[in-house]
């Protein structure tokens, strides 16, 4: 790309000059010109290996992060309406939250779904719901992220089927499938199949997207939920990257070339309340990922080495007490994400310690990002904290502690991170570490060693009137069941039976990529529950051994 005789700064300049510049005034409020990056001539620069200072040379000088607000509730029509509101309010990407039954691959009329339909996200049972969910939204233009894991392959197939019906070619679709099953066993606990069988489906989606969907991010390797479940920042970082290495080893074992799929992997981190530690975490993540991808997995395409990530402010940091104070917490956390170089960001709403957000609360959360983006000037400089004695030292220490965890997992897997991570799950090692860290923090809070405003100090004001909360009624559940009834009665049942049989036969052969048949089943209006149950008949179901 560049010869050895040019200095890092000269190389950076070449890359920067080749990048577009967004329309903004790059001066301070007093008119002092702001350079795109600061640092010594021969120092680290953004867009250069190991990318500690950012994956791209120009960072937010070219394009601001994507303000991707996560939304979903009730039926597909309700969420479609919220999506359109987000786009109208200036949101630049969509992110779909599914309800609990969908996350667990159950239909809305399953007995286990009682009381959960449309509660925590949107209910999707069949292609019919997918059609309503994205109706009137140009999926060739807006990128879409879907938070779905155990049934990721099924929901992804339905998404592709509905885009194709709407006339958008699958190769044009841009977006992200969370599809990170490993952290489900470790933290979020929305699992269906046993780990190894689930990993086969992850392999299938990586394989499929690497062949057919060049704009799609196949896995969003997620530390967010690990952190929310109680881990420390270091554990979040290390478990997430270790999971990433596991997916890389999975795809390599399937015979894929590292540079054919690694550029399509992305990450999702928490933006928690310890401001500098979070920034150090993001910087360490980029450096570690780059080094491992290059040195251990032999990547040669820089995009395979660039850790690009979404971040979301910390749900657990929100308090039910004095909820308006959550706006301040979220703003600080979002700022950490931005100073840490996030590619996209979701800001939580002030009312989310108690319910899904109201439209107003969600709008304030988006406005918080817009204030950071357009008023503060912080986006004008890449890695503005690079070179800070504190942040650099913290970055090194976070990296060092993460490497200790990788070494442990590697020994657990006899040299394989893939085996190490699966063994760690099967032996409850991750789950135990996360519980221990959660309890340790709780004890420090209860002992008064840590203060949460409004919870264990500064309670004056807690008794004031509650803010308005969003209420979801059971009518949505009944409405959704009726929709599902009509889908079942309108479709060609023989076609459904036939394609589900084909799915079962193919599931029995571990060499087959199941994606094409899942897309076929989606077109036939087979339901999420039907496809998942068919596969569970072959794969079995995972049961976690309860431990405190």
């Amino acid at each position: 790309m560049s010869s050895d005789t040019t200095s890092p700064r000269e190389q950076w300049e070449q890359a920067f000059n080749a990048s577009p510049t967004r329309d903004a005034e790059f001066t301070t409020l007093s008119g002092i010109p702001i350079d795109p990056v600061y640092g010594p001539e021969d120092g680290d620069f953004p867009g250069q290996y190991p990318y500690t200072r950012g994956p791209y040379a120009s960072m937010y000088r070219s394009r601001l992060w994507t303000m991707r607000m996560f939304a979903g509730f009730g039926t597909a029509e309700d969420t479609n309406w919220r999506f359109k509101e987000i786009i109208k309010a200036g949101g630049t990407g969509l992110s779909t939250a599914f309800d609990m039954p969908t996350l667990l691959g159950l239909d809305s009329d399953d007995p286990m779904s009682l009381g959960e339909v449309g509660r925590c996200g949107v209910a999707v049972d069949s292609l019919s719901d997918m059609e309503d969910l994205y109706a009137g939204i140009d999926l060739g233009e807006v990128t879409t992220s879907m938070t779905i894991n155990s049934p990721a392959a099924v929901i992804f197939a339905m998404f592709i089927a509905q885009a194709e019906k709407a006339g958008v070619n699958r190769a044009q679709l841009g977006g992200t499938l969370q599809n990170d099953i490993l952290k489900e066993y470790q933290a979020q606990k929305e699992f269906v199949f046993p780990p190894r069988q689930s990993m086969r489906l992850v392999r299938d989606t990586i394989d499929f997207t690497s062949r057919e969907m060049p704009r799609w991010h196949s896995v969003s390797i997620s530390g967010y939920h690990i952190r929310e479940a109680g881990s420390t920042a270091v554990e979040e970082l290390a478990f997430t990257l270790a999971n990433g290495f596991a997916y890389v080893e999975l795809a390599l074992a399937a015979g894929l070339d590292v540079d054919a799929f690694a550029p399509r992997l992305s990450f999702f981190f928490n933006a928690h309340i310890d401001f500098f530690e979070e920034i150090a975490k993001y910087r360490a993540a980029r450096r570690i990922w780059a080094r491992w991808m290059k040195e251990r997995y032999g990547a040669t395409d820089p995009r395979s080495m660039q850790c690009r990530f979404h971040s979301q402010t910390a749900g657990v940091s929100l308090t039910a007490q004095q909820p308006e104070v959550n706006i301040a917490r979220t703003a600080i956390e979002a700022l950490a994400g931005v100073l840490g170089g996030t590619q996209s960001l979701h800001t939580n709403s002030m009312d989310e310690a108690l319910a899904l957000p109201t439209e107003k609360a969600a709008r304030i959360a988006l406005r918080t990002q817009q204030v950071i983006a357009h008023e503060t000037n912080v986006a004008h400089v890449a890695d503005p904290l690079g070179g800070s004695y504190y942040v650099e030292s913290l970055t090194d220490e976070v990296e060092r502690q993460a490497e200790e965890i990788f070494a442990h997992l590697e020994s657990l897997g006899n040299g394989s991170l893939l085996e190490g991570v699966i063994t760690g799950i099967e032996e409850n090692w991750f789950q135990g570490r996360i519980s221990d860290s959660a309890y340790d923090l709780e004890r420090r809070l209860n002992a008064g060693q840590r203060i949460t405003v409004g919870v264990n100090d500064f309670q004056a004001g807690n008794e004031e009137d509650q803010i308005q909360l969003l209420r979801i009624t059971n009518e949505d559940e009944q409405r959704q069941r009726k929709r599902l009834d009509s889908v079942r009665s309108d479709r060609n049942q023989d076609a459904v039976t036939e394609v589900l049989n084909k799915l079962r036969v193919e599931a029995e052969d571990p060499e087959v990529d199941l994606m094409p048949t899942l897309i076929e089943a989606s077109h036939a209006y087979a339901t999420v529950g039907e496809m998942m149950n068919t596969m569970a008949g072959v794969f079995g179901r995972h049961v976690e051994v309860p431990s405190i």
Partner: protein
């Protein structure tokens, strides 16, 4: 207080288990005997486990918003077995749901931000109330 048995449970599809595990450890450290059901239980399996384990109270942890449907079903399932085991609910429960939950037989609700001390106090009050009755 020591020796009283509390069954803590996750009912329904909600996989958020940070709270239930933290509360289980808080209660265990306070001297209670704590049994955890694990995830994805139904009202019937929770009631059956509570009766089988001779629990003095049931602690339900719910963060998915399904508490208005599922918590009363646990109370009913316990009563259907002829047992008198109080059900305590913890999780993301808005204030506007509290009256209805109490009316449907939920003994106490621990809302977000409840401290360890508050949890122990509330649980002990429920246990004392049952014993006095």
């Amino acid at each position: 207080m020591s020796g009283e048995r509390i069954l803590v449970a996750k009912v329904g599809l909600d996989g958020h288990d940070r709270g239930v595990k933290v509360v289980a450890r808080i209660l265990r450290d306070a001297g209670y005997e704590v049994i955890y059901t694990g995830l994805f239980q139904t009202p019937e399996t929770v009631a059956a486990a509570a009766v089988d384990e001779d629990a003095d109270a049931i602690g339900l942890s719910m963060l998915s918003g399904a508490h208005m449907t599922l918590a009363p079903l646990v109370v009913e399932a316990v009563r259907a077995r002829g047992a008198d085991i109080p059900v305590i609910l913890g999780g993301t429960v808005p204030d506007h749901d509290l009256d209805e939950l109490k009316a449907k037989g939920v003994a106490a609700v621990l809302t977000p931000g409840t401290t360890a001390e508050g949890i122990i106090k509330e649980v002990q009050q429920v246990l004392d109330g049952t014993q006095a009755a």
